[in-house]
Subunit: 349 residues, 2 copies
């Protein structure tokens, strides 16, 4: 085992100096530091994480809790978070709070779920936590608070937790306005649902933005135009089939609360013989990588950047001195990306 002592010996200094040199402390002479670095390099020495943590109280590790692991959006957030953490020398340990129905640790009360909060997150393995789109109850929130580490939420409904989120109302309004500006008046909205109905306000916000845009354009909202699905392609498809199958609806445009649902909508439209965008315009939200492929107009919300932001927010708190090239700005960016799925409304047939 190559410990810090070996390095000290080889460099001809004390272990304290090695520690300081390797940690980049300013109180080490340049020449000494160089010698230490060289010795460490030669021995292939790397500080032991656990020893360092125990002594310093810092783990250089950040936890990320996520409800989904195999969805593009969440993977992208993870990617962004990992990149900025790694660049700062931090590790990322991942906690999956499974939110799928069957067998998943969905409901509070599920043993796996309890164990996550009561055991895994309490063992001081991380310096801080990122909670992505998490819905939890008060006991869980309390147990998060008990770990006494910086915590930032991303897009979730965590009451009392500093949370980064796009302005869902504004985003939805922008999307709807895009359709309005193209002359559409029969605009349907494929809204989202949560796995369990708690106060997951994202769908509500987006619906609010949709309705606001309509109101401002003096278009009367028609409840038959609004349907909910589960954020997936299949969900968007099914709902759109309903929408297009109902002779009373007569929608010329669809605003879906996620890109995946929008893809489903596009496919559904095609399956019933409606051309996109000639007969039906479709717009989504997310900036999914497949938008390019499907030609879907969307509001890009840059999920990777969201992950970066969450991470750099925490880093700034953990290392107040260091310069992180992270923007101070808390509001998350979004951007209308116009592609081929939206066009001027056809004159009423």
């Amino acid at each position: 085992m190559t410990s810090i002592e070996k390095v000290a010996e080889l460099a001809g200094v004390s272990t304290a100096t090695v520690s300081r040199a390797l940690a980049g402390k300013p109180t080490v002479a340049a020449a000494t530091r160089a010698r230490v670095l060289e010795a460490a390099q030669e021995l292939g020495y790397v500080v032991s994480a656990s020893a360092s943590s125990l002594a310093s109280g810092k783990t250089r590790n950040v936890g990320v809790v996520m409800p989904f692991l195999n969805r593009w959006f969440f993977g992208s957030v993870l990617k962004g978070a990992h990149r900025t953490l790694a660049d700062a020398g931090y590790d990322l340990t991942l906690y999956h709070l499974d939110s799928e129905r069957e067998g998943g640790a969905t409901e509070p009360g599920d043993p796996r779920r309890t164990r996550l909060f009561e055991e895994f997150l309490q063992r001081k393995r991380v310096d801080a936590l990122i909670a992505v789109s998490l819905e939890m109850n008060d006991a869980e929130l309390e147990s998060l608070r008990r770990i006494g580490k910086p915590l930032v939420g991303l897009g979730g409904p965590l009451s009392g937790v500093p949370t980064l989120s796009i302005d869902d109302v504004a985003v939805a309004k922008l999307a709807t306005e895009h359709l309005v500006s193209l002359g559409h008046t029969r605009i349907a909205h494929v809204s989202g649902t949560s796995t369990y109905a708690r106060d997951f306000h994202l769908p509500a916000h987006r619906r609010e933005g949709y309705e606001t845009a309509l109101r401002e354009a003096n278009i009367t909202a028609d409840p038959r135009l609004v349907r909910s699905a589960d954020f997936t392609i299949a969900g968007g498809y099914a709902v759109t089939r309903q929408l297009l199958g109902d002779p009373e609806v007569r929608a010329t445009a669809i605003f879906a609360a996620s890109d995946e649902m929008a893809f489903g909508a596009m496919i559904a439209a095609r399956d019933v013989g409606r051309r996109v965008p000639e007969d039906l315009s479709v717009i989504g939200i997310d900036g999914h990588e497949l938008c390019e492929f499907f030609g879907l107009t969307t509001i890009d919300q840059f999920p990777e950047i969201q992950g970066e932001r969450a991470a750099s927010t925490l880093l700034r708190e953990l290392e107040p001195h260091t310069q992180h090239h992270a923007p101070e700005n808390v509001s998350l960016p979004y951007e209308l990306a116009v592609r081929k799925s939206t066009a001027v409304a056809a004159s009423p047939a």
Copy 2:
């Protein structure tokens, strides 16, 4: 801070006994153990990971290295691995070895990539490593070996590393045989490519299985029927457009090396007016969640189970005594799932 001493005090025993009781060691009287557990519960005590690691040399943490974070397959593997690790009380720390072209740490020599191998993975934060679909050079492999921890590869071309992998040749053969059994003779193959051309033998294996199946069916292979894409929907789409646009090809079926490419193929077919499966049969590999939606026939390779297997293999090595309900079997399961995208070949037009 509630340390082990507080618990010892409350339970009226020494810290040694608390440690043993909490660790489930057999040399603790049942009554004592109960008292300790109760005391720990009451104080909300959880063993400090770093102190425990330092003292015991075990971190109860496994590292997972992946080239992609936002692709369904990799997310699913991650999900499976996380579940079995968590059930065994292990944490999972994630390392992203970015394999996308632009800006990613693709090429060996990239500083981020080097740092991962030389620094992050060396700091003894994990007891073992899972390397998923990783391509690396000798220096990198050597540095992995230097960390001296159990290591298992999943589906990657890691020479000299115990690797779990489906039998790609057999899988491809099975897929092709399915098409053959439906009477197809002009069977195209959409093969995969790697980001950088190293010895990533998965595409080669699958092509080999394809060719073997043809040979055994006395169908002469036609090189014009084989094209490569990058495992994505867009890639599969583009290649299929070529295939169907070439009058010399006359394919009635396509075997794609991944489900995503198969989706692309289905969409391409529809875009050029070919009906699936009436005019063109399509089969993929993976068991992607969207297969159901698209009605794609595929060979399911159960990625979540692959993650589970990789994890339980390591757990067995880390805890030889414990009973893990993991199968001894090293060969990974796969299964033909027939849906609506494959049908009997139309009689030649």
